[in-house]
Amino acid sequence: MSPSEPRMTRATLLVLGAFMDDTSQEVYGSKITEAVGLASGTIHPILARFEALGWLESRWEEPGQVALGRPRRRLYKITPKGVVGAARALARAETKGSRFSSPQFSPRLAEGST
């Protein structure tokens, strides 16, 4: 594992799998939580780590999308660097034949997530 790559846990790989399902999609934390079926608190440290590595980028949703009286949501998207890194990490997990290679591994993000 290169130093620029985080430790790949099951949760980490699940999150990457969710982003790799549709690399152009922008999703917010709750959607990812739903898609991968992890507890809500586990997602944000992972997202922060990937963001720090440049694998993910994030932005606030447009003011137009913000409903009245609701805080903005943070939308995350995988970067080209992240796609390469994630593909490599997922492939490595697959070849290891580990417990990660389950159908759950590429969870589908629900429609209308942005």
């Binding site: 709750s30 944000h44 440290p45 922060a48 805080p71 903005r72």
Partner: protein, 325 residues
């Protein structure tokens, strides 16, 4: 089609219960009615797959677009699971609607293809097989329409009780307050962002109908992982200061700080433009951010500038007295 609407006299809670029972019944009926047609669809699908390798005509007629029976079954299972775990307080779950929509599209595709193409003739299959799949898909669509109609009818009748905050999509105030307070675990630069992000998700939960317990559970889970989130932040967010920031240094001795992290802040501090600054002290307790303010008994001035080999300022020494947060 049977009109299955929420009675006008129903309260909001009664309307949700009523619709949930309708939807459960309809899904059970859908499963029963599609049991045989899905077997037929599976047989047709298998034949299409075997014929595709032999004849390009199968693709040209669009028969390969027939939805696979196993996927339709999978969608029904997901729909059932969604209803079992549905939180339809205040309004139907959006995911439930999405599942219904997806399944309806699949069944419409079955009806369209079997109605427009002579599937039995083209594939040399018994006509009954195709007609069973088609008629089953039609009754499935009717079931789904009834489900959609029932979901649409979740509304507040004119004489309904006023809705709670959760039904309006507002989270509980205690949960929101707790997020605001515990967000202080995060460093100042990242705090506002993450607190707003968490609040946004709390609103999402409330919109989905999560009750106080679920909202507090969300908050506790977030709080439990705030230190992990903090550790995962990039270095500059963890330690770099805002211009309006504060000073951090080691306790009783001049602290060596890394200039390249804080050059802007230190410059502002030295020019006396900023009342205070945050500096990461490269001392034994470097990881602790201690807050000093000018004029307090904290860091009062930068007394020493060390130059690196290239002549650039590489570090600063900061005097510090007793620290104060």
């Amino acid at each position: 089609m049977n009109e299955q609407r929420v009675p006008r006299w129903a309260t909001s809670v009664q309307s949700v219960d009523y619709v949930t029972s309708i939807v459960r019944d309809e899904v059970a009926r859908l499963e029963a009615e599609l049991s045989l047609p899905l077997s037929a669809l599976s047989a047709v699908g298998n034949h299409v797959e075997s014929m595709r390798h032999r004849s390009a005509r199968v693709d040209s007629l669009g028969l390969h677009l027939l939805p696979p029976a196993f996927y339709v079954e999978h969608c029904i299972a997901k729909l059932r699971a969604e209803i079992v775990g549905a939180r339809m307080v205040g309004r139907p779950s959006r995911r439930l609607r999405a599942r219904v929509g997806e399944l309806r599209e699949l069944l419409i595709a079955v009806v369209d293809i079997t109605a427009n193409v002579d599937v039995a003739g083209e594939l040399d299959l018994p006509f009954e097989l195709v007609s069973t799949a088609q008629s089953g898909a039609r009754s499935g669509i009717s079931c789904l329409d009834r489900i959609s109609q029932a979901l649409e009818s979740i509304h507040l009748p004119p004489n309904a009780e006023p809705r709670s905050d959760a039904e309006h999509g507002h989270p509980n105030r205690s949960a929101e307050w707790m997020l605001q307070v515990t967000g202080r675990i995060l460093p100042p630069l990242a705090r506002d962002r993450y607190v707003e992000e968490f609040r946004g998700e709390l609103y999402y939960l409330a919109e989905e109908g999560a009750n106080l317990g679920a909202q507090l559970a969300y908050v506790f889970r977030q709080v439990g992982r705030l230190w992990s989130t903090r550790r995962a932040l990039p270095e500059d967010l963890r330690y770099r200061a805002r211009d309006s920031g504060k000073v951090a240094a080691s306790r009783n001795q001049p602290a060596i700080v890394r200039a390249h992290y804080f050059s802007d802040v230190v410059r502002a501090y030295m020019d006396r433009r900023a009342a205070s600054a945050i500096i990461r002290a490269a001392s034994s307790n470097a990881k602790r951010e201690k807050v000093f303010r000018r004029g307090s008994r904290g860091a009062r001035s930068i007394v020493q500038v060390q130059h690196g080999r290239s002549g650039q300022k590489s570090s600063y020494a900061v005097t510090s007295g007793r620290h104060r947060r």
